[in-house]
């Protein structure tokens, strides 16, 4: 194993990869574009549907009569900008059910014991809960009636001689001491720890298959096996190349997210009053980069081990897909954002620990002993996987490409078989 060989092989792998459209698209274009496009698409769609909902005037039928003191309520219903009061509809209930009108508002004085309050009334709103437009119409009418009710109650309080301040009792206010940066970091921590895993996995996916099963399919595998380089160098160069593309995908993804999040989410959040302030402390950035590298190393090694069993590219995909599923698992388990996630016990679960470590770091928490455990666990896993990959790739069936792709037969013959004349040890280095 020497560095010069590894360097030549590594450059060779990269050059081939950068000319393969599928790898470039998956490893470089998708990470750059996914956020801007996804966020922009969501933004447009949300605004559009929201706009449609808000933009349609509610068609309502107003029925019944109120005491004279409330006559203004009916007028203000009619005056609402988003409400069209429709007259002369036959069988309004059926019209609501068929979607021709959105709601029937029936105003009437109460006649039970609540009538003890002079002028008390109730409002019946018939609407169709299954239809968005109808539910919107109900909400608009209800909001108006509720405002009217508060004002009337206040007036009644005055009549009873209740002091306005006393009647108000107290006011509950909110005061968020989190800065825009805190808020952004929570959001970033959630998005990044999730998407980084996906992106690194996607970045490793095709290269790992292409460089093992793909070579076998193109029959370049034997060509490579007869060159004068150490087999260990070959495996290591391939591994480095897979991990590199994973890291590239991850890094591009992080950059794209950092740059786009303000531009795209800013206007969306602007309406709710929240604002974004994208900045990372050097320490968090360091942990994040380290996390991305660990992820790429783990996925690269795991995928190479699995892909080595495949005869063809297609086969390789089927073999490696479970690794992607495993990658998604921690996203689901760690899905809920919590305050501090990484503990020395959760740090023993591979992938999940890196995800939690990144999330915590972005939010400003550094549990150093747990980070150390994460590091040890991840590197240990990588070492085991690499050892496996090296072993698997040096079995004769794989060297000559005569392996028939059956995982079970391989296991039966190679891992559990009694020792026999055919030496089950790997061939020479």
């Amino acid at each position: 194993m020497n560095l010069r060989e590894i360097g030549i092989l590594y450059r060779h792998e990269l050059r081939s990869a950068l000319r393969e459209r599928t790898i470039v698209v998956n490893g470089i274009l998708i990470p750059i574009f996914m956020y801007p496009l996804l966020l922009w698409g969501m933004f447009t769609a949300v605004t559009f549907v929201q706009g449609l909902n808000d933009g349609f005037a509610s068609r309502i039928v107003v029925d019944g009569q109120l005491p004279a003191m409330h006559s203004e309520l009916r007028d203000s219903l009619q005056a609402l900008p988003a409400v069209d009061v429709v007259d002369d509809v036959d069988d309004p209930r059926a019209a609501v059910a068929e979607g021709r009108i959105d709601a029937i508002v029936t105003l009437r004085p109460t006649d039970d014991e609540t009538a003890a309050l002079p002028g008390n009334f109730r409002v019946d709103i018939a609407y169709d809960r299954a239809e968005t437009r109808s539910a919107d119409a109900r909400a608009r009418v209800e909001a108006l009636v509720s405002r009217w009710r508060s004002r009337w109650l206040a007036d009644l309080g005055d009549d009873l001689g209740l002091d306005a301040a006393e009647r108000g009792v107290f006011v509950v206010a909110r005061e968020d001491v989190s800065t825009a940066r805190d808020f952004t970091n929570v959001l970033l921590g959630y998005l990044l720890s999730t998407f980084l895993i996906m992106m690194v996995a996607i970045g490793c996916f095709l290269p790992a298959i292409d460089t093992t099963a793909g070579e076998r399919e193109r029959s370049t595998w034997e060509t490579l096996m007869t060159v004068g380089a150490n087999r260990g160098s070959v495996v290591l160069a391939k591994y480095l190349y897979v991990a590199t593309l994973g890291i590239v995908a991850g890094a591009l993804n992080v950059i794209a997210l950092m740059v786009s999040i303000g531009a795209v989410l800013g206007p969306l959040l602007g309406e709710s009053g929240a604002s974004l302030d994208v900045a990372l402390t050097p320490r968090a950035a360091l942990v994040m980069i380290g996390g991305a590298v660990l992820l790429a190393m783990t996925f690269g090694a795991a995928m190479m081990v699995f892909a080595s069993f495949a005869r063809s590219f297609k086969d390789g995909q089927a073999m490696v897909t479970p690794v992607i599923w495993l990658a998604v698992l921690p996203i689901l388990v760690g899905g809920e954002p919590s305050d501090v996630n990484l503990s020395t016990s959760s740090a023993t679960v591979p992938i999940l620990n890196i995800s939690l470590m990144i999330r915590d770091a972005i939010r400003g928490f550094f549990v150093w002993d747990a980070i150390a455990v994460t590091l040890v666990v991840s590197l240990g896993l990588v070492a085991v996987l690499l050892f496996l990959a090296r072993r698997v790739l040096s079995f004769e069936e794989f060297l000559t490409g005569s392996f028939d792709g059956s995982f079970w037969r391989f296991a039966k013959q190679r891992l559990f078989a009694r020792r026999s004349l055919s030496d089950p040890r790997p061939t020479a280095r």
Binding site: E5, H12, T223, M225, V227, E396
Partner: protein, 271 residues
């Protein structure tokens, strides 16, 4: 070549290889063969499909590990010094394809470098190969876009990119058209003239007859005969290689029914 003519470039001594098959247990593919190949000669391995030719050559190229016996290439043992062995040989077979996404020139550069050719002399070496094989016209075309004839030229050029003293051609004319096959035979003659030791396997008698200085007849993993064409003619009294081959094989099997083709399944993947 600096290697003196009398030292063998390839030395094979009682080489054996057996595979494990679930239904049949241990199956010997190469069953104790010995031969040597010297610089400046073409050594032909003649045999039917499944006779053990590819397995033998793969052991020499260190892709397979011998079950027992020994083999050296330029004095390097294939088991203990596999890297040095690979650096001193060029291996060409139907299953050693080229990287489709590299250009012809990049292919040659890569193989020269990775096989340990002195880095400073790589460009000059590639230019030499490009001119020698007439690749100049499409040296910047990607391999995947080349016609099969062009690919063949690039493929031979990459085999000798690092100027190895030993060359192994495993059924190189399989699947080639007449013109390309003739071209291949011509190249091998040139390499021989350059003083290379060439190991050549085939089941096509006429090529072996034309090319090889010495011929080994391989059947069911065993070397039945070894010698120059003339020596073989003398031993059997037959003139044509085809007849010589059939004579050896039927003598060995002892039964006319056991035709060589019946053993094809052993190496179905290799041809």
């Amino acid at each position: 070549m600096t290697t003196p003519l009398h030292t063998p470039a390839v030395l094979v001594d009682d080489l054996r290889k057996s595979f494990f098959e679930e239904e049949r247990g241990e199956v010997p593919a190469v069953d104790g063969i010995s031969f040597e190949a010297r610089p400046g000669e073409v050594f032909g391995l003649l045999g039917a499909n499944g006779a053990g030719k590819t397995t033998t050559l793969r052991m020499l190229s260190t892709v397979l590990r011998p079950t027992s016996g020994s083999a050296t290439v330029m004095g390097h043992d294939v088991v203990t010094e596999s890297e040095k062995v690979r650096q001193s040989l060029g291996f060409y077979s139907a299953s050693t394809a080229l990287y489709p996404r590299l250009t012809a020139r990049e292919t040659l550069e890569f193989f020269a470098r990775i096989n340990g050719y002195p880095p400073s002399r790589v460009p000059a070496r590639v230019d030499e190969l490009v001119d020698r094989f007439g690749i100049r016209e499409y040296e910047h075309g990607r391999v995947e876009k080349l016609s099969s004839g062009m690919k063949q030229k690039v493929s031979i050029a990459r085999t000798i990119a690092h100027d190895p003293p030993v060359l192994i051609f495993d059924e190189p004319t399989v699947g080639l058209d007449v013109m390309n096959a003739i071209e291949m035979v011509k190249v091998i003659s040139e390499l021989k003239a350059d003083g290379k030791a060439v190991l050549y396997s085939s089941h096509i008698m006429s090529e072996v007859e034309k090319l090889c200085d010495r011929i080994g007849i391989l059947h069911r993993g065993r070397l039945l005969a070894l010698g120059t064409l003339d020596e073989l003619r003398e031993a059997t009294g037959e003139h044509y290689l085809e007849d010589i081959f059939v004579r050896f094989v039927t003598d060995e099997s002892g039964a006319a029914g056991a035709l060589p083709g019946a053993f094809g399944e052993l190496e179905s993947d290799a041809s």
